[in-house]
Amino acid sequence: MARKKSRASVVRRLHRSVGATTALFIIFMVLSGLAINHSNGLGFDQRHVSQPFLLDWYGLAGPESISNFALGDDWLSFAGSQLYLNGKSVATISSGVGAVSSRDMLIAAGSEELLLLDHDGNLIERIAWGPPGADRIESIGLLPGNVVVVQSAGQLWRADSDLLNWQHADGTGISPIWPASVSVPAAIHQAITRQYRGDGLSLERVLLDVHSGRIFGSIGIFIYDLLALAVGFLAISGLIFWLRGRRNKSNL
């Protein structure tokens, strides 16, 4: 009987110390879990992390290459699948190949689509490239009169004034100007690199990784496993004490 009481006392002491040790962890899990549950409403899935130490921790590097096109006073840049106007991210685009300006519109060409933008970076239209018989876009240029022309599988395609219809053009006798990628001012280059790294990591992703322990790698998961087992122990020991208390009350 005395042995049984002594064992119960040890478990009770253990219950208290484990409870005190894991209290902070439980509070943290509750708060981070609530934040994750409402991450859509709070906009955490749309907000991006920009702290350099976190980006370094996740191994997020800058873009492999940035290609820039000078269009009057504006700079259109391609980095990965992002399109930037004057260093500000404006849209995603499939493998950027070039850009021109025509009729007060900026036209960015990806291998499978064309994006029409105004000078504030607002998307006018995203045009899926696909005239019958055309392959992927290889380059975009201009003919005299600001007529937009696209090269695809060695063939030329000429757009109408609204870029609604494309006609196969005979390449003889015409010499389009094909804008080439040029160096961009350093400030714009830095702004693009900073955003490119940050765009890869949402606040929701970080919260999920912190909540699961993944952010600390396999050690983090191991520690979280131990803490989870401790919480399980608390639940079971708490239940045992509660049942025992009820039994003792009924015996009185």
């Binding site: 859509n40 899935d45 996740y58 191994g59 029409l116 105004d118 607002n122 998307l123 006018i124 239209e125 995203r126 899926a128 696909g130 019958p132 609204d162 609604l164 219809n165 992703r205 999920l208 990784d209 993944r214 952010i215 600390f216 790698g217 396999s218 983090g220 998961i221």
Partner: protein
């Protein structure tokens, strides 16, 4: 190790599901000979109404559509949770003739692309208040995608009337 796995998860996500290309959609909408495209600019009152129907601005300033003899076809995009869903809507007179998901990019909720779901939009019209005149049954686990398609149906019905195509323009 687990961090690396977590970071690679997006790369392992399934690629976009293309159910029908725009060319196939237009060919089906106009029995194999679609008309040339027209343009409608989202500005002024039209922009305000589209914003009210969508709950936000449409992510483009102009839309192309195809219209012949009171029938119009629209290819519209709307984000379900994170990625845009491309939807083709054919409107005839006052009601939706057909609504089909052309490309679905989200990881979950692809059930909205099944005809069993999209057929609910057939012969649905727009009420004066901007709501659909029929109830669209939801799909468990695809709530955001269902809402996105419903919003696009409302926008397409409004644009059909607004463009004048309804009157045979």
């Amino acid at each position: 190790m687990m961090l690396a796995v977590a970071l690679f998860l997006p790369a392992l996500a399934p690629a976009a599901s293309v159910y029908e290309t725009q060319t196939e959609f237009l060919s089906r909408a106009f029995s194999g000979s679609p008309p040339g495209p027209g343009i409608t600019w989202l500005s002024g009152e039209r922009k305000v109404t589209v914003r009210e129907l969508l709950g936000h601005d449409y992510p483009a300033l102009r839309l192309r559509y195809w219209c012949r003899a009171g029938r119009s076809a629209w290819v519209l995009n709307e984000i379900g949770k994170e990625l845009p869903i491309t939807v083709g809507v054919v409107i005839e007179r006052d009601y939706i003739n057909s609504l089909r998901v052309l490309t679905y990019r989200e990881n979950r909720g692809g059930e909205v692309a099944t005809p069993a779901f999209t057929d609910q939009f057939s012969r649905v019209a727009l009420e004066d208040g901007g709501a659909l005149d029929a109830n669209i049954d939801g799909i468990s686990g695809a709530t955001l995608s269902v809402k996105a398609l419903t919003r696009l149906a409302r926008v397409a019905l409004f644009l059909h009337t607004d463009s004048g195509c309804k009157d045979g323009a």
